[in-house]
């Protein structure tokens, strides 16, 4: 390229770098006049077009450049970005492969080709490139790339299980063929060992490990040592492992808990004789074991004494030893366990982790339990130092953990809450001088009290306990403003109380970001459509849904880059981990639960037309083929409920139901079915219109029954996750779909017509024909005259006609509940049912369609159902408005403060309580009013659109291309 041209191209890069895509396009156009065939300018223009969402035009340029089979570095790199923007990873592979073929001595190009395959997850061709590179450039690293790719192919879900071992064997053959031994590099060594472990070649692995260099690597590398430990165990070297662990503990002062576990496993290996030992040896083995047990006990006791309070390992190891001895029936002293627990408490009781440390040993009974309980009860409740306070709090938590149902009466729990509150307020005094960013020492007492209040609510169904709990926690947050534990419970309670805006406020204060959206957004987005005001134009929650999904975009854009980097840096131990991570995020259950919630909000806000139907359909179908991973973090809320009762997480779930895969699948099936009926897209049309790679399928994907069958499958296991009201909504939806299916199928235009129309629109818009569609062939495509008669019009099923009426009854049942959550649930589902009805009947709007297909009778019954639905919605709406007015009165605030007797009696200021009361009642008023208005709007809109026709095929193509 000439220097002059180079100078002229520079500004285009600058424009792209600063995001001024428009000026980049202008600059490209100018240069293209002089250099119409320049690939680089074309590629850069394509990039600017992709980035300004002009997918259509970009595609044309992109394909032109690809056809020219570029080899120039700058062009390839620009095209990498274009293709990535279009989701065409496979085309990227082809592009690099073509380039590499032309320049087989270009090592960099070879590496890029390999990486393109890595990004697309095409391990088999990655292997081939690596093989070629190894032959050509004689660098061992390429051999290892080959080995790693074989392993990754073995692990891939698209690989049938019977291929796995074969691929590992291949990897093994390759790695042993390496001219340099794997131990020259820790990560190569790790890879080698992991292959041997997979193939169960433990002796070979042992040989590697048992060398000086192998031992040296394991002593400094945690990951290699981990795999060594594994292999030793698998090889039956449990006792050797125990000896090694003992040496590490004694000589190197290693206090890794894994070493203690190794000693414990070795000790108890005598009591689970392996078959190899033969039956006669079991007796000798037992006596040997008892001897060993005594030795281990002595060892741990000695270390515990040496370490003192500095390290808790040996103390806990003694507990674990005793617990295991008990389970083997070889404990020498029945009082020993509790004695050890007491000693542990004496030593570690003033550390916050003591409760968690002791948890595995708390399942005591009878005499033991009585001794332990009276020991804890004797812990003094006067405290003058934070350490004493922590000791007391640990005693409370430990005692509470073992409470049995008869001890959990309303009176007893009330007494507990009074005590915790009193101690909490006294304990605050210990922290008056703490900086405002620190947490109060007494915080756990407030959390304990909140746990008890929630339990009281569960016992009595009396809302006053929740009101006390939120007041207390709000108070605790004024003292420890960064207590995320208090906030998490508050978020749950505010949703239960029907004050979602307060829940959101706390959620936002937590500062959830990045990957935490995946694990924690369930706190605010679970069944969030119940509280959504999208129908009134308030998109707060819908936006929250979209924001939480940013992380999935980062994942698909960034993670594969780091897989590539790990290859470059030869960090083989990380590569499988990165891929698992990428997969778990990409196929996250929470991601698609949020997607579902967002769709439910979206249809209440946007006019329902064919564009929305087609696009959502395509996306939901992709989701339906995923294998989901549940990454949600439910353990984060500290649970202080007794082991005999539900955890606080379960107790505070909205509607007492946890949605999971079953819920998601039920709603996916429901919506895919409805959208598919309402859409003109069939698979062949979709195939032509979609751009970008399709999601990778598992190896057995083709054995699945056809989609149509899968959509009507039902399982009780899935349905348990639904609330009663969701269940009746699902029944309504499936009855509706069943009823309308034949009319949809009869009326839907044939694929050739749909495609011709789409092609025509593309050409009008971009001036280029739709790729892969032969217009000539389609030109004659018109709706052929149907030979069959239209299906006879049938009466709507009762499940459909009676549905809205039954909602009225259901609404009357729940409207007296103190919390508005349940009425909101019924109301928003009623709204959703009407919207779903609109989706299902949209096709039959145009009078011409009705006439041609002789569906007049059908449309008449729609009218009845619709007007019935609208009248029910309006009724609910006006009732909600009344409730909203009542919620915001001084009266309701007064009721609130009066209900908060427990906390005000304990000493929390009345004015403070009044402040919380005002916030809660206002929040309730706001959500009731909003949902009420929304119902009104949806009803009116439905009434109006019945006069409009709105099938606009025109936009179809454009919308697809820009979103997919």
């Amino acid at each position: 390229m000439s220097a002059a041209l180079d100078r002229q191209i520079r500004p285009i890069y600058d424009a792209l770098d600063t995001g001024s895509n428009k000026s980049a396009i202008v600059a490209c156009n100018k240069l293209l006049k002089k250099h119409p065939q320049n690939e680089l300018i074309k590629a850069l223009k394509a990039l600017a077009l992709v980035r300004s969402q002009k997918v259509e035009e970009s595609l044309v340029l992109c394909d032109e450049v690809l056809d020219s089979k570029p080899t120039n570095d700058a062009v390839l790199s620009a095209m990498t970005h274009v293709l990535r923007g279009l989701g065409r990873h496979k085309d990227m592979v082809t592009m690099f492969e073509e380039a590499y073929k032309q320049q087989p001595f270009n090592e960099e190009l070879g590496a890029q080709t390999f990486f393109a395959n890595v990004r697309a997850g095409q391990w088999k061709s990655a292997q081939q490139i690596a093989t070629k590179m190894h032959k050509q450039f004689h660098d061992d690293r390429y051999l290892y790339w080959n080995v790693m790719s074989a392993v990754l192919q073995a692990n891939d879900a698209a690989t049938p299980p019977n291929m796995r071992t074969l691929l590992y064997k291949l990897a093994h053959r390759l790695i042993t063929s390496s001219p340099t031994p794997s131990y020259q590099n820790n990560d190569r060594f790790y890879l080698h060992l992991s292959i041997l472990r997979e193939l169960e070649l433990y002796d070979d692995a042992h040989k590697l490990l048992d060398s000086d260099i192998g031992r040296a690597i394991c002593s400094t590398s945690l990951s290699c040592n981990q795999i060594r430990r594994d292999i030793w165990r698998l090889r039956g070297m449990i006792r050797e492992e125990g000896e090694l662990a003992e040496a590490r503990i004694m000589n190197m002062k290693d206090r890794n808990w894994l070493e203690f576990l190794s000693i414990l496993d070795a000790t108890f290996s005598y009591f689970t004789p392996s078959e190899a030992d033969g039956p006669s040896s079991s007796e000798t083995s037992k006596s040997e074991g008892l001897e060993h047990l005594a030795k281990t006990q002595e060892l741990f006791t000695r270390i515990a004494e040496e370490d003192g309070p500095k390290d808790r390992s040996a103390g806990l190891a003694l507990l674990e030893l005793e617990k295991r001895a008990r389970s083997h029936g070889i404990s020498q002293d029945s009082g020993r366990l509790v004695g050890l627990m007491q000693r542990y408490f004496d030593q570690v009781g003033d550390k916050a982790c003591c409760f968690e440390d002791l948890k595995p040993y708390l399942a005591l009974e009878g005499e033991d339990l009585a001794r332990w309980t009276s020991f804890l009860e004797a812990v003094p409740s006067s405290f003058t130092t934070p350490a004493e306070l922590r000791r007391l709090m640990n005693a409370h938590k430990l005692l509470r953990h073992n409470l049995t149902p008869p001890q959990l009466t309303v009176e007893a729990e009330t007494a507990r809450v009074t005590r915790y509150l009193d101690e909490y307020l006294r304990g605050l005094k210990l922290g008056v001088d703490l900086p405002p960013t620190e947490l109060q020492h007494a915080d756990d007492l407030a959390l304990l009290a909140a746990n008890v209040l929630v339990n009281l609510w569960k016992l009595t169904s009396d809302e006053q306990y929740l009101l006390n709990a939120v007041t207390l926690l709000e108070y605790a947050l004024t003292k420890s403003k960064h207590s995320f534990q208090a906030r998490l419970i508050l978020i749950r309670l505010y949703r239960l109380l029907g004050a979602p805006s307060l829940a959101l406020e706390h959620y936002r204060t937590l500062g959830i970001k990045q990957v935490q959206h995946d694990t924690l957004s369930h706190f605010i987005l679970s069944r969030a459509s119940t509280f959504s005001l999208a129908s009134t134009g308030d998109l707060t929650l819908a936006t929250e849904c979209l924001e939480s999904t940013q992380i999935y975009i980062s994942n698909s854009q960034e993670t594969s880059d780091f897989v590539v980097r790990a290859f470059t840096a030869e960090k083989y131990s990380q590569i499988p981990e990165f891929i698992v991570f990428e997969d778990r995020l990409d196929n996250s259950l929470q991601r698609d639960i949020v997607k579902m919630e967002h769709l439910r909000m979206r249809i209440s806000h946007e006019p329902i037309n064919s564009d929305i139907i087609d696009m959502e359909l395509i996306e939901l179908k992709f989701i339906f083929d995923r294998t989901h991973h549940d990454n949600r973090d439910f353990d984060i809320i500290a649970n202080y409920q007794p082991r005999s009762s539900d955890s606080i997480h379960l107790q505070t779930l909205l509607f007492g139901k946890q949605e999971s895969l079953g819920w998601l699948w039920t709603f996916l099936k429901l919506y895919i079915r409805a959208l598919q009926q309402g859409s003109d897209l069939d698979d062949t049309v979709e195939e032509k219109l979609l751009i970008g790679d399709r999601p990778k399928q598992t190896f057995d994907a083709d054995k699945r029954p056809p989609l149509k069958e899968r959509l009507v499958q039902k399982s009780d296991q899935e349905l348990v996750e639904l609330t009663q009201d969701e269940l009746s909504f699902v029944e309504f939806a499936s009855a509706l779909a069943e009823w309308l299916e034949p009319y949809h199928d009869y009326t839907r235009p044939p694929p050739s017509v749909v495609l011709a129309e789409a092609a025509k629109q593309t050409e009008i818009k971009t001036g280029h024909p739709l790729k892969g569609v032969d217009l000539q062939e389609l030109n004659g495509a018109t709706t052929p005259k149907k030979e069959e008669e239209p299906p006879a019009v049938t009466e709507p099923p009762e499940l459909v006609t009676k549905y809205f009426d039954s909602l009225k009854t259901r609404f009357a049942e729940v409207r007296k509940n103190p919390s508005p959550t349940e009425v909101l649930h019924v109301a928003t589902l009623a709204q959703e049912a009407l919207l779903l009805f609109t989706v299902e009947t949209l096709r039959f709007k145009p009078a011409s369609v009705v006439k041609v297909n002789k569906l007049g009778g059908l449309v008449a019954s729609f009218k009845c159902i619709r007007s019935e639905a609208i009248s029910v919605l309006r009724e609910i709406s006006s009732e909600l408005l009344k409730q909203s007015e009542a919620a915001g009165t001084q009266e309701s605030r007064k009721d609130f403060t009066e209900a908060c007797e427990i906390v005000t009696n304990a000493g929390i200021d009345h004015d403070f309580t009044l402040g919380v009361a005002k916030k809660v009642t206002d929040a309730r008023k706001k959500v009731l009013e909003g949902v009420s208005k929304g119902l009104g709007r949806v009803s009116s809109a439905t009434n109006l659109t019945s006069l409009r026709t709105c099938r606009t095929e025109a936009k179809l193509q454009q919308e697809h291309r820009s979103t997919v």
């Binding site: 945690l222 890794n256 808990w257 808790r312 916050a352 935490q516 840096a569 131990s573």
Partner: protein, 183 residues
Amino acid sequence: MSVLRPFKATDMFKFNNINLDIWTETYGIGFYLNYLSRWPDLCCVQEAPSGRMMGYVIGKAEGVSTEWHGHVTAITVAPEYRRLSLARKMMRLVEMVTDEIYKGFFVDLYVRCANTVAIEMYEGMGYSVYRRVREYYGNLGLGKGGRDEEDAFDMRKPMSRDPNRRSVRANGRDMIVSAHDVS
């Protein structure tokens, strides 16, 4: 009593009890993946027997010639597991790996000048202040501690490859540099 093990990419799904704490930042996934793709042996986790994460350290190796060293980018322990010497154990691992695998001359880390508890702990472990970096922590603004809140001490500890302790100095607290001058 805790398990010391390598930091894995999937630990990002379970570090909430550590990262929800106000003092621990949650970075983009690229941050963690970058460290893991280059210095996985300098990133490790302390885990309770229950599987709950207690704390983690993320480090790297960088610098040229005698400045080649291990650097602690982030070290954090969940509130409920503080005062159990976990940080000490993780630092020991970083030092061991820097010394034996990377053959670095020293290990260094940055700490808020106001954080006397941490500074004392590091001093107890053999670290000393090498320099004071002005306005290193800009995000929280000036708090009660004034300059000490936003300035950082760069603390170092020589490794076996630096037997003459050339990488440290006695008057480090008086050596003031601006944040632009450090990487």
